[in-house]
Amino acid sequence: MRAISLVAGAVFKESVRDRVPYSMVGFAVLLIAASYLISQLTAGQDLKIIKDLGLAAISWFGLLIAIFIGIGLVSKEVERRSVYSLLTKPLSRDQFILGKYAGLVFTLVVNLSAMTLALALLLAYMNAVAPPEVKAGWSAPALDPRLLTAVVLTVAELTIVTAIALFFSTFSSPLLSALLTFGLWVAGHFNQDLRNFESVVNAPAVAWIMRGLYYLLPNLAPFNLRAEAVHAVDVPIRDVLLTLAYAACYVAVLLVGAIAIFRRRDFK
């Protein structure tokens, strides 16, 4: 456990000293601020627009961090040959993979927390300055707990994306890993269409393959609760917990796969 946490700490330190995540967080904070300005132009919908754009910014910039750091987690170590020194220390290959994953998830949590805090501060300011008659027209309070649920599920979605990026990073180049990860993220959001493919195509074999793909590919649509949070629609806690459990299982399978590949790998 100590070796895993040391590797995770090193990943976090590298990301702290890397300008990429910071620029992304800065950009996301700016976008949230810009959404406040845009909302000033839309009478009565300002709070919803801020929530919508804010949550979208958190999700998109989190995705960029997950993909762009995740794809280099292993392949960069191999390319720059730092893996030679690291793997000859008392550290198993399994611990290396788990440490890399934990480090990136921790980095994501810290970055998304910063973005969420920026959004919360903006919403708190709106709440403080809005007159009572305007507040009466809001369908949900400015600091609605549903927003936090949406962010938590965004983090859960990103843990899957990170695991996908790490999985591809164990055997392919950063560019290919980025393309495959992004492709799976897109497919994951349209996964439901594969399940009902027989209603579109009258070919049982194709429908069977699509059904198989439905179970194989990540189902990421349930992680998107942004619309529910913005429009104050309640989501049963059972659904949220099931979605989190699904994320844990999917991540576990991907990590087992990544470890199995990495264990067998030769470093020429």
């Binding site: 040391l6 330190k13 590298e14 040959r81 030679y84 000859t88 220390k89 008392p90 030769d266």
Partner: protein, 317 residues
Amino acid sequence: MAAAIEIEELSKDFLTGFWRPRPYRALDRLTLSVDEGEVFGFLGPNGAGKSTTLKLLMQLLYPTTGSARILGRPAGDLAVKRRVGFLPENPSFYDHLTGEELLTYFARLFGLRGAGATSRVARVLDDVGLGAERRLRLRQYSKGMVQRVGLAQALVNEPDVVFLDEPMSGLDPLGRRHVRQLMLRLRDRGCTVFFSSHILSDAESLCSRVGILAQGRLVASGRLSEILAFELRGWEVVVANLDDAVRARLEPQVRGITALAHGRYTIELAPDASPERFVHELAASGAQVVSLNPLRETLEDYFVQSVGAAAARETGL
């Protein structure tokens, strides 16, 4: 004395080619044993399989056949890793860390904490001559400094066995001397040193035993005193102010005369020649004798013979 490293019939094939991959044998049935406390030089030309062997011992590569044991346990065992240090060829580390941070990270992986880790890191960095640069980021290090920090990370756990892949690479003459002294200090404290090199003078001055690898095969191994007969092969005299008439007169009596820079010549004599009489004759003819040296077989000669013989066997010539 117990064996620190035991290699048995170790082979490694790499697949080459995209459409029809074919195995290429990089290491062929290597069997070797290195005793505890020994400095063993693993020599060979580029591409001989030295780095492949070291990576197999470090489990960065998996063998096609054969096995290796270090300190009595299988190579790659976590308990072995705790007692082993490794310097890869042309090492590369994390640019964003300072030398001190890198070594602290590695020291913690060995279970060192707090003040113990700090003092160990400071001592090892001083040992490799990087004490003053310990707070510089690695991206600011020169190639020689990266090589030194690579040595430091291999020694941070005070290993019982240390594997060094081309440890002198990228070092200036002062750095090389420093590393030679470091290796001798390691030997003096009982550490087994297994290092690969193609710089034969280093091996000659450091090793108790050497192994010579060519085209993936061990072509020779043994103690330097056994390998090199140290018998006299001739004499080499360097002279200045040698006029053409004297040179023409000497030519039939000697093995060869080679012109050097600044009007100097090297004259090679047979082993049974009398160098004292020859030097007197030269002085009497007005030439100035700069130096007189016996010629003995060197590790380089042995290396060239062994590698050349292996290449001849391979080509069937």
